[in-house]
Symmetry: C2
DNA sequence: ACGTCATTGTACCGGTCGGTACAATCTCTC
DNA sequence: GAGAGATTGTACCGACCGGTACAATGACGT
């Protein structure tokens, strides 16, 4: 349960889509204003720190969604396989089967990476470690689990890039299906 | 053998690094001028089309390097396994083991994607199809080869993102090693 | 030495950027 | 309905953006 006023959550979603679509530098205050229907007065009222604070809040908002819908289930579900399954469903749903791109991944490549490096590192780090933990519980050796988790997150990120590059959403679905299959069998040693 | 004057190739490399480091929008003419030591007069003399032509030329330059050092070997090497091995070595070398990011991948996520969508689609498309062709020749069924190729390129792209996000170059090396191992065995049907 | 053409530095353009200032308005409490 | 605080529109700022114009300089064949 997050104590964010619903209006603010909606606002962050809208601003997030602008950042997602145009990148940090490309998301001008004019675009953000047009998308939200708010003028600069309002935007700077809600985000006194300006564009940088907006981006930070948007990243935190996305991070919170993944924490609630992906990372926590991976860590907390008594059945690690169910947690992993949940991750794939949430991931496919979040990225709209490849229609959406990963804003945090885009920021990691962007010029903006230095501004948000802590948040970015944290997001991917927690994704990988929580997935690795679930894989370990499901029977993989810790080292193997860690590498598999890294690879799975990399495939997801890369597939989003390729799907966007090729304008072919199926690339993402195929990649998700393949990596899901690979993670399914418990360690066969 | 490409008939580009060496100075122009060097120029494209330098400009490419600016785009790679700052993205399309972030790479201002001031930055490009500082990196190359050329003023606007010279830049617009060599690239009358301005920044967009520079980016197009840079993408074509990178695409040419991959064509010569990755795609062609994949297609032409009589031993497909050797071609694939060559791809991994060239890829690790090009991306400096994760120190460098994929400019074309970054452009695919960027706001600039619409400007260069044809070139971007072509680059990734040829990478995937030439790798799939080599995998087919090495014994995989065409469908499986195609999916494997897609996945391999996705892992490479995603690992570059993660390596940058985590400031941990080893992520890229590990990913490359894993996917190399996966592609090695011929189809075991 | 000349003419030619490639190359360059510099000044300038209109437009947009992120950000600030501030007065007007809205909303809610007492 | 008075007052207070939250919210908003608008005008404005200096800086920088990509791009253009053009005169000065350079290199070079003749």
């Amino acid at each position: 349960m997050r104590r964010i006023a619903p209006e603010r959550a909606d606002l962050l979603s809208i601003i997030g889509e602008v950042f997602r679509e145009h990148g940090y530098e490309g998301a001008s205050l004019a675009l953000i204003g047009a998308a939200t229907g708010l003028g600069k007065g309002s935007l700077y009222h809600f985000f006194p720190g300006g564009k940088e604070e907006m981006a930070r809040a948007v990243i935190a908002h996305i991070d919170g969604w993944f924490e609630d819908n992906v990372f926590a289930p991976l860590r907390d579900n008594a059945d690690p396989r169910a947690g992993i399954e949940h991750m794939f469903e949430a991931t496919d749903s979040y990225f709209r089967s490849g229609r959406r791109v990963c804003l945090i991944g885009a920021f990691a490549l962007d010029d903006s990476r230095d501004l948000f490096s802590g948040q970015i590192r944290d997001y991917f780090g927690r994704w990988i470690t929580s997935l690795a933990e679930a894989l370990t519980r499901s029977g993989y050796r810790p080292g193997e689990a860690s590498e598999l988790a890294e690879e799975a997150v990399a495939v997801i990120q890369g597939a989003l890039t390729l799907a966007r590059a090729a304008s072919d959403l199926d690339i993402f679905s195929r990649a998700l299906r393949r990596v899901r299959m690979r993670l399914e069998p418990p360690a066969k040693i």
